[in-house]
Subunit: 303 residues, 5 copies
């Protein structure tokens, strides 16, 4: 997630440089044409850029809206992961009958599950971003469990299966009553759901034909605008066109970047920082000693 303070101009410029250079070249070409063949150029009627400008603004607004919705949904999903991770630990602390396992064992057990839940958050973030999550799984899961999880394609799903297996054991030992097991099961089912929702956003390509015609449409608009401006403004048309083009391309790229919030880029949903928040909250609640520091933005974004 980009943060407010330190966004470098170079970042913005890099987003649009290829397109701006193209615009620069065709507007220069039109100027040269005008200079040499002024008489042969048709005069572009004024209503054309107006009509196309309205249309392109609307389709860009549409793209921006739905891209924002994907981005915001991704953030909401991770917000829900925060909530249900916290809830899960509260429920474990409340539900498990200490006298069944003994006070110390219960504490260790909850700690094991808390670590696993924290590991799940980090591992899910890494999975979504296409990163390797082997190290994470070794860090937060005990070896036996890591051995079950690692061979599977969908490692976060396998981690949740371990949660469920432990609930079964607790129920069988009567450390949980049946209501509580069902309640914990509901919490884990919701986590299964969030995982699937994040995967859905990740694997669903924004309609491709749409992406194509928006890009094409912006160029069409700029070319016709350029032809219209070159007559009245002459060479002054070049900087004006470039400034206008930059704005439209910035909107387009902003939208495109918002569409895919789990691709390991600065505009990503900050899944690592969120997982860290969960780790801090849970460890403090359990009064564990090794509470890490929150992740703060290095440079201009939070990873």
């Amino acid at each position: 997630m980009l943060v407010k303070q330190k966004l470098p101009l170079s970042y913005l410029f890099n987003m649009i440089k290829v397109d701006v250079v193209r615009v620069f070249f065709f507007s220069i070409t039109f100027n040269i044409f005008k200079f040499f063949f002024s008489d042969y150029l048709p005069s572009m009627p004024a209503q054309l850029p107006t009509v196309l400008g309205t249309a392109i603004s609307l389709v860009l607004a549409f793209k921006l809206n739905h891209s924002y919705d994907r981005w915001w949904e991704a953030r909401k999903i991770w917000g829900s992961i925060v909530n249900d991770s916290r809830t899960l630990i509260l429920q474990l602390k409340t539900y498990i009958q200490t006298d069944v396992l003994g006070y110390d064992e219960t504490g260790k057990f909850i700690q094991k599950m808390a670590n696993r839940q924290i590991g799940w958050c980090y591992a899910l973030g890494e999975s979504l971003r296409g990163l390797d999550n082997q190290a994470t799984i070794h860090q937060y899961l005990i070896p036996a469990e890591a051995g079950y999880v690692l061979p599977q394609n969908n490692k976060p799903y396998a981690i949740l299966a371990l949660h469920m297996r432990d609930f079964k054991e607790l129920l069988n030992k009567q450390a949980l009553n049946p209501f509580q097991q069902v309640q914990l099961d509901s919490t884990v089912s919701r986590l299964v759901g969030y995982m699937g929702m994040a995967e859905r956003i990740n694997s669903t390509v924004f309609p491709v034909t749409y992406r194509v015609f928006v890009h094409f449409f912006i160029y069409l608009f700029l070319i016709i605008l350029s032809l219209g401006l070159v007559e009245t403004l002459g060479p002054l048309e070049i900087p004006i066109l470039i400034v206008i083009a930059s704005t439209f391309f910035l909107i387009e790229k902003t939208a495109t970047y918002l569409q895919d919030p789990f691709v390991n880029m600065p505009t990503d949903t900050p899944v690592t920082a969120i997982a860290r928040t969960i780790e801090i909250n849970i460890k403090q609640l359990l009064e564990e000693p090794d509470v890490p520091e929150p992740i703060t933005p290095e440079d201009f974004y939070l990873k």
Copy 2:
């Protein structure tokens, strides 16, 4: 679902060729008219195309929005099918008391239900697309159950009835406690719901009068724009009009294709690939040997 990399231009062109050819002919006609009867043609006032352009852009934006919403809802429904299929298997693994049926029998039972659930996903996708799902049912269901399902119109519904019947049996044998049965029942009820939601999108025609007037409106706009441009631009009007028309028709067709996500076309929700993902996840979780490969896009789309 169209994928990012390899969209062929011919695909885009095929979407709009009929309309573009029509535009080509009427813009040529106007040019010939202008050439021979220049004096008799009224001059089209400039504000007309502007007004119509704004209006058509707004109604297209409306169509695009609601078509996108249908498409995204369809994808969400299938995302939920992923989630609750995974949840169902987790619940079965956790809930069933191994000592009632014996360890091996329980394993076989879960495997039977997992196969049936996987079969349900494939069969639902085929039903929605109007394809025959007999082969799928024979592959994933045991013969006795296939015999119950095949004569029915709504085969996926019948498959879920088999799930429910099995839960009843498990409850009667006390391999499930009553809470767990109710919880499993809730999961299956949600699957009934997703099935109905997908059917709803499939069977509800996007308002027809709307479809008619949008198409009619685009032509009206292009004709008036053509009459306006022919005077200032002459023959150059033909290519410009065709490029503009292509953009508007591309928007219209993109929207129309998004409206119906279960019609066995490249723009479909990739139900087969999703069902395959479910199959892989479930089989790996149950540590079964015959895990298939994920479906990858052949050509330019994922089926």
Copy 3:
């Protein structure tokens, strides 16, 4: 619901004929005026129709959006009715302990409840459309129950009360366990909810002042456009204005018709066809002999 194939032009024309005739008369009037009193007519500035055109397009887009939302919500409600009717029957089949009532009695009991549920769907559709539902109630309910339902204003609500009464009886006879009764109760509560949601759409008038000013605004726009066009286009203004007017009125009427989806018109939500689908699904699931045919569109719409 209008279907794709056979929409007659006469239907579209009937929607807008009154308004189009009015437009025809005032545009003729302006032409005559211009012919005789050309010098006295003020020339309408070009920006006026543009400004009004943008404004009217936006308010029409607003109206279209919210009308579509009402229509789509109505369809979703009926989709949910499909889902929970199917769920209810699945639950009854799964829950009821056959040994309490005996195998045959249980079958008959479920059949009675299934019929009542089917009857509820038809009766609700008829209620919403303001039709008499006496025949339906006599057909699907046993006489004693019909006697309870018929005197009430809200017959569908009374039918659901019969469901609930039967669940109580089953619980008292221990043919249901308490969890299952609560689960069935939740399903019926949802049906109560859908009924109320459909009634809400039916009884809530779309803001009336809004309806008034949209209609007024379209006329204002057309009159000013007409005054603007009459100078440049002369009599040719009449057909052009009529074509433009038709498009705007078509949008307005389409929106108005979508607003009220339960008024026994061709644009209605196809509640009878949906109820029939439910009947077919349920009866096939229970392997009953008298399964009816699905309703197919007669003419150009599905009722």
Copy 4:
């Protein structure tokens, strides 16, 4: 809620008369200025009203959208109140074991609770509208309970506390099983929720800076439009400007009125009529004798 049939023009006129009179005066002033100081007036460039017209149309569309959403949400909340009031009575009828309290006592008890629920609906409507609800509470609650409710600020909340207290008593007497008590509790929790949702809409002011600049913006637009029209149209500008202004102000006022649906005005959500519907449904279901008539619109609105 305004109804379709009889909306008087005077009502519409009263909404906007102050603003229209102001517009009348400044457009007359501009005409007089033009008559005497024609040479000194600058000519307003044509693109200014176009740009401002687009901008004001978009911000009005925004205001209309979100006002409509508030209004529709208010209506949905009251729809949910209908649904859960009906559900509550169904549940009470189904759940309470008749043999614990005796048949007659049970009947009387349900009747008492039904009256209290009906009273809650009326009282909540009155609370939201800032009306006194003492009479209502005396009418529908028994004196002892009215004594508990009346001193409190939030009377509807206190009424629901009485419901909950009665459930506790029923549970203690074993007239309810624990599942049923929890289910009833969920229904009442939802009612607590709807009450809070309606209060939220009532107490949250639509962003004030927004209201200010929309109003200011419309005047700015009309003044600039007036200056533009006065040159070409002369005195004819006055009626045209007034008609256009009326339309814009009508949109603005319609939106403003929709924003606050519980302020005892004709555009309110018809809470009294809805409460009456609930009363009729519940009393007919319980086969009580004193069923009142539905409320029909007097004049042009339903209160």
Copy 5:
């Protein structure tokens, strides 16, 4: 939250003064340029400001929409906090078996939990606004509990952990039955959820690139409009441009302020006033003596 009555103009002016001063300077500069170098200035074509005006209006509308959605979601979250705080107290009053703890002890216990819940509301509001909540925690929690809560980063989460711990104790003492404990747990889980949702809005920066280009785009539009107006209007261009600029900047700032509803500014969600309402409702329901007064707006906003 700004209130309707007393919004001072100075507040509005302060929002936009920096930007307006900038606009003042560049429009003066253009006027001076025009005066001295009139012949060298290119004439800005009329369609440019129109096209840019439409585009900037659409992106502003987009920003306004999503900012409003954040603001409204924040208000909804706090509405839900009201609802579930009320529900929690109702449930405690209904569920706890008085005979287990004794009548007086039960009363004291509920009072302690009610105070803690009220404290949670105040403390959450303070946390979100980045204020110190030590005083609040000392006021509403008993010392032993304050000692557990204060060292933690996320104090509201720790307070909810105390709720859960008490439920466990009540269950163990059989003052709650297992159903009721699960129901209370669900209520607290929802509170955990609302807390996380408010934190999500607080910690998620509205897309930064978007913020940058909107600001840049408004300046671009105003500069080009200024260059266009300076030719026809001369020095009169300065006040007109400033008025138009003020409107656009007011829209932009209104949107920016709505985006962040928990930053201790006048446009905040009124979390302190809402927490006070909860305090009043709960204390009156429990018939406690020390009910405070509602918070009324001092100046022009409710804090």
